[in-house]
């Protein structure tokens, strides 16, 4: 039977994931997390539509330590999924499959996602001080 020649999956218990594999599963993980995380966005918009009182409740949660932690993770997940998604679009177009290129673009994805996350928080705090 030709099925004997099929490639085998790596044995995950004894196999050190390469960076590209880690980013691959993170792409799924962040995608699923962001799908759940849309609840935060919907809640914020509905609170704003509901009037000043409900908006203040939402804002005070977002401004709390727990709220900021959630939002920080949320924002990194978002920018990571976006950065890695852009890399996926290049792959879809047929570019960047070489092993060395994938190693390099993995680091670029992490750097890009991290930079955008930090930048958006700098903007948030800079405008907060200005108020």
């Amino acid at each position: 039977m030709s099925t004997n020649n099929r490639p085998l999956s790596p044995h995950l218990d004894v196999y050190k994931l390469p960076l590209s594999a880690l980013l691959s599963i993170l792409h799924r993980g962040t995608g699923a997390a962001l799908s759940v995380g849309t609840i935060v966005l919907v809640w914020w918009l509905m609170a704003l539509a509901g009037g000043e009182e409900s908006f203040q409740v939402a804002q005070s949660f977002m401004g709390s330590i727990l709220g900021r932690l959630v939002l920080f993770g949320w924002s990194f997940a978002l920018f990571f999924h976006m950065s890695n998604g852009i890399r996926h679009l290049f792959w879809d177009a047929g570019y960047g499959f070489d092993k060395q290129v994938v190693e390099k673009t993995s680091l670029i994805v992490i750097g890009f996602a991290g930079s955008l996350t930090i930048l958006v928080w700098i903007v948030a705090f800079a405008f907060g001080i200005g108020e």
């Binding site: 039977m1 799924r28 799908s35 849309t38 966005l41 539509a49 908006f55 998604g85 405008f127």
Partner: protein, 126 residues
């Protein structure tokens, strides 16, 4: 070398000819979401500590509301397509798989409608 078993080939269990639409829609929404996401994330960052009236005016302006509704449609469509692929990969029981996909689609649809109504209400000053 074909990776399909002889039985699979014989049965002709191949494409149902509907995969491309799913794949393509995932990419179209992805591309739309790149500029929309960056714009919205930085808009929210700028508004993070602004007062109620300012946020209301900024989210509810015609262009802003139009872009946010576009963002919401793209986000929830993209999420539904993505979650479907995850379920298809990991849930082998057919009933559970279909149930998970259907349940998620209905939930995401409800969230999308709720968010869009909120934005429209803000934009119309209700």
């Amino acid at each position: 070398m074909s990776l399909r078993s002889p039985l699979g080939q014989a049965k002709g269990l191949g494409s149902a000819k509907e995969g491309l639409h799913h794949w393509w829609a995932q990419r179209v929404t992805a591309i739309a979401l790149i500029p929309l996401t960056i714009w919205f994330a930085f808009k929210v960052a700028v508004l993070s500590m602004a007062d109620y009236e300012t946020v209301l005016a900024c989210i509810g302006s015609p262009w802003s509301a139009a872009l946010i509704v576009s963002l919401l449609i793209a986000v929830f469509y993209h999420a539904a397509l993505g979650m479907q692929v995850i379920y298809e990969d990991y849930i082998s029981h057919k009933g559970a798989r279909i149930g998970a996909i259907m349940g998620t689609n209905l939930l995401l649809f409800l969230l999308a409608i709720a968010a869009i109504i909120a934005v429209v209400r803000i934009a119309l000053g209700g």
